[in-house]
Subunit: 181 residues, 2 copies
Amino acid sequence: MDDSDQEPDIDERRERAREEVLDAMERAAEIYGLSRSYGRLYGLLFFAEEPMSLDDLVERSEYAKSTVSTAMNSLQRLHLVHRRSIPGEGKKAFYEAERDFWTVFQEFLRREVRREVDTMIRSLDRAEQHLDGLDDEQAQRDLEKIRQLRRMYDRSQSLIDILTSSSLDRLAGLLERLRRD
Amino acid sequence: MDDSDQEPDIDERRERAREEVLDAMERAAEIYGLSRSYGRLYGLLFFAEEPMSLDDLVERSEYAKSTVSTAMNSLQRLHLVHRRSIPGEGKKAFYEAERDFWTVFQEFLRREVRREVDTMIRSLDRAEQHLDGLDDEQAQRDLEKIRQLRRMYDRSQSLIDILTSSSLDRLAGLLERLRRD
DNA sequence: TGATATATTCGGCATTATCCGAATATACTG
DNA sequence: CAGTATATTCGGATAATGCCGAATATATCA
């Protein structure tokens, strides 16, 4: 007699538990501007004991292979999943979930935010050059606003530099100190 | 003889400078998952000396009033703009840009992220209940993963609490210390 | 309350995003 | 290098979003 005879609802309860978390991950994906399918695919990898292949994911998710393929590429760019190859498995790609969201966030800062900040700063500098030396009240007021924004972006830049080079533990300890102060 | 005779390109240079910044703001909006129009509308407010009415914004942006109206509501929810009424102006609403992105970020943490974290934690707890006491290897492994995630979300929660209650200056000072350590 | 100025909502059209299956490209193996 | 297993790309169907103008709702003031 096997498990399911002995305790007929084990599988169902396990299934329910996972489904609960997968749903939450779909919602989370939505909040951060990703499509729900990404949340579900991430969740499947999150619960996997071993890296999953594209075909594994296709089977479990019931999405088309093309869908899973592009999703994996996006999730990889976001550092939410990692791609590995396994010796002896040929071209086959395997994916696993990154479970430490802090490093995911750090990578987002490094790649997306940092790039936004840099291009904004370049634009602000160009705008400043256009206005510099203009004998015009309106121009002076614009200039002041632009410089203020530029200062804020400078501070953001250093903040990003610090955040992307600190472990979460280090940061958490420091913030703990802040709370007590 | 007026300004434009004396220095014919003042207006154009001012225009160019603003357009440079507005473009950058449209790109930034895109990066953070908003539509470009939001970036432009925010930019118009950013440069305004005084609060602007819906009709002002319609005129300057050349979007339809309905578009501007819904955009203002969204930007308001994100705390990127503030709505004010002006005594003696009746029902008319006036908008101004929030120039401190740190408070914008704080509000986003408070409203969106905090909510995501809370519902995820609730889901994780429900999932844990489903699995608790199950005599099943797979269930135990799932349980361990869920608990690990739960611990991470707990830490996130306190991090959010701290971040949403500290001024940028305070935080920046602290992080400066971190850098030197 | 009625008149007026303003804001919001709604249906529709155009654009974009998602997802699919088929076709193509790519990497590995013998 | 041919053959095979795998991944990616592409065109098309469907759903979602952005934007509009007209219709409706709401707030203020006489």
